[in-house]
């Protein structure tokens, strides 16, 4: 008896919950709807969003349904340290990117996308690498959130998977379409309140209902010595370390995070990031603890699928009212990320495709941009629903996007601090890093003999790059070089001859190492001296206070006026 059959919501219950959730978020979108929506507000909320909404939105966006499932899976697989190796590193990454966020915002105070900033810093190929990686990443994320919604609804209600996917897709599109990013962040706030409240209630409720703390003693035999060890090396090598490398890349490369960075009031960046760090950590680790409890209880996941663990625990131990709260928590987690993906995709197409590569910044019309943004959301939702039916391997796709972003991390960060980095160095370093990553990650070349040693040496450099970048944000160049160097030297004896057996971790580290080495080598002798002030001058709002949806001529005139400011000729 897994509890799932008996705990299904009846048709009126599930319809009531979905109407409550998506009807409520749609009502919010109607309340903040403007007759004349502004293209810049649609993308960034006017760069002036307050602390409460920003911190809530940053937390909600960073958490998707897979975060909850994966944290519990980590707890179930690796034991008591498992949730830490998923949630703590993910949380700390939000903190580690905060100094870079401050720098990015300082040099590009009114930008909309990171790719747009790369266009101003380098040129088209760098911009398109970032924009392309984000389109692929956000589509995959959208698809996986729809799949998670479909699976949850089919598990806990009489609806089937396809009906669940369509309901979630329609619900998210319905409330995000009109006001874009503004709706996304405001509903994120409501959703994160529901999620935090749910974690605060559900985890203790399951803990006591399942017979803990006594079950810690009666179920101790269900854990292997490694699972019972808080300092498990297996948990660190298989879960923690690959995740550290992956999430740093996600945090830097992902437009959903960058969009919130460009939206929050610049004086509130630090408290926003710190609060999101604590909020993410507590929520994801808290849910991950359900996996640890399941391990002590000797629970077997239904159908052998560990993604069923959380619904299974909830169905078995929660009364119907709390099960409804659990359902809202998961639907909130996946919807908040899905609406962020829609907002990110629309911004990329509005800014990086139409604004800078089709119309050109000077001729871009805010009204046309808004139409394109809304059409992008509709098309992206349709594509994600279609892809969801293909049952693609999401993990492989995410690993690929993670590596693409991993290859981008050093060139992107260096581009904000080092005047010598050129468009050629940026582009070549990313492409070469990807070319090396693919055979390592997917085992195209057997990792034996000298090949394995070379991969291990690159991994050692990758460790130095990752830790050096983290230190650089907080302490500057010299401490970063020392910390990165010491980390590389100290890890070498343990890594060389060994780490190439862990393809996921090696692949990520190799992507970091190769892009850093190539970018540095191509830039160090360059005579290029970029003026960072150019970025602020080349990026900025498309609409002004006087731009108006009904007056495209006025918008064009304003844009033309701005273009004169950007014109380098006297």
């Amino acid at each position: 008896m897994d509890g799932l059959e008996s705990a299904q919501f009846s048709m009126p219950w599930i319809i009531g919950l979905l109407v409550l959730f998506y009807g409520g978020t749609f009502w919010i979108s109607l309340k903040i709807r403007k007759r004349k929506e502004n293209a810049d507000s649609y993308m960034t909320g006017g760069h002036n969003v307050g602390f409460g909404i920003s911190a809530g939105s940053m937390t909600a966006t960073w958490i998707w349904a897979s975060s909850m499932y994966a944290a519990a899976t980590s707890g179930y697989t690796y034991g008591i340290s498992g949730p830490i190796h998923y949630g703590l590193w993910g949380a700390l990454m939000i903190l580690f990117i905060y100094p870079f966020g401050k720098r990015i915002r300082a040099v590009a105070p009114r930008a909309h996308t990171l790719a747009e900033v790369m266009f101003a810093r380098h040129g088209r190929s760098s911009q398109l690498l970032l924009a392309g990686s984000n389109v692929v990443g956000s589509l995959i994320s959208l698809m996986s959130n729809f799949i998670a919604g479909g699976v949850l609804i089919s598990l806990l209600s009489p609806f089937n998977f396809t009906q669940g996917v369509l309901t979630v897709a329609a619900g998210v599109l319905l409330y995000t379409l009109w006001s874009g990013f503004r709706t996304s962040v405001l509903t994120d706030f409501i959703q994160v309140v529901a999620m935090l409240g749910a974690v605060a209630v559900i985890v203790p409720a399951i803990f006591f209902a399942a017979g803990f703390p006594a079950a810690f003693e009666s179920g101790a035999a269900n854990l292997t010595p490694e699972q019972g060890n808080f300092f498990s090396s297996e948990a660190f090598l298989n879960q923690g370390a690959p995740y550290i490398a992956a999430v740093l890349a996600y945090a830097i490369g992902n437009q959903t995070i960058a969009q919130r960075l460009f939206a929050v009031k610049s004086t509130l960046i630090r408290p926003t990031f710190v609060t999101a760090t604590i909020g993410y950590g507590s929520m994801v680790i808290g849910v991950g603890m359900l996996g640890v409890l399941a391990l002590y209880l000797g629970v077997e996941p239904v159908g052998g699928d560990v993604n069923n663990l959380i619904p299974q625990m909830a169905a078995q131990y929660l009364p119907i009212g709390l099960l409804a709260l659990f359902f809202i928590m998961i639907i909130g987690a996946l919807s908040s990320t899905a609406d962020s993906d829609l907002a990110a995709l629309s911004s990329i197409v509005m800014t990086d495709v139409y604004g800078q590569n089709v119309a050109g910044k000077a001729k871009a019309k805010p009204t046309t941009m808004l139409l394109i943004g809304r059409l992008t959301m509709v098309v992206a939702t349709a594509l994600a629903v279609i892809f969801a039916s293909f049952q693609l391997n999401i993990l492989d796709l995410l690993v690929f996007v993670g590596a693409l972003w991993g290859a981008l991390v050093f060139p992107v960060i260096a581009s904000f601090y080092w005047k010598k980095v050129t468009n050629k160095a940026f582009t070549v370093s990313v492409v070469v890093a990807l070319a090396v990553f693919i055979p390592v990650r997917f085992g195209v070349i057997p990792m034996v003999g000298p090949v394995g040693i070379v991969v291990d040496i690159l991994s050692v450099i990758g460790i130095g790059v990752v830790l050096g970048l983290m230190a650089f944000g907080f302490f500057g160049l010299r401490p970063a070089l020392v910390i990165g160097g010491v980390a590389a030297v100290a890890s070498a004896p343990f890594v060389i001859g060994f780490l190439h057996q862990y393809a996921t971790l090696s692949g990520s580290l190799v992507a970091y190492a190769v892009s850093a080495v190539v970018c540095w080598a191509m830039s160090v002798r360059s005579s290029h001296q970029f003026d960072f002030g150019e970025i602020a001058r080349r990026t900025g709002d498309y609409a002004t206070e006087h731009d108006d949806d009904t007056d495209p001529q006025a918008a064009s005139a304003a844009a033309a006026s701005r273009s004169r400011d950007l014109d380098p000729t006297p």
């Binding site: 903040i32 909320g45 006017g46 969003v49 307050g50 602390f51 409460g52 909404i53 911190a55 809530g56 937390t59 008591i80 503004r182 962040v185 405001l186 706030f189 994160v192 309140v193 935090l196 409240g197 974690v199 605060a200 209630v201 559900i202 985890v203 203790p204 803990f207 803990f212 703390p213 006594a214 810690f216 003693e217 609060t275 604590i278 909020g279 950590g281 507590s282 929520m283 680790i285 808290g286 603890m289 640890v292 409890l293």
Partner: protein
């Protein structure tokens, strides 16, 4: 002793989540009240 430590380890996270919930909710309502006083949208 180990049971108490494990219980605290599991239950501390919902407690922190509750703390974050209070912080961002209070901040939101302060911002909402301020925006109403100033006659502008909260976002």
């Amino acid at each position: 002793m180990e049971t108490i430590a494990l219980s605290a380890y599991v239950l501390i996270w919902p407690l922190i989540a509750l703390g974050v919930l209070v912080v961002i909710t209070v901040a939101f309502f302060k911002e909402w009240a301020r925006s109403r006083r100033e006659g502008r949208d909260i976002i």
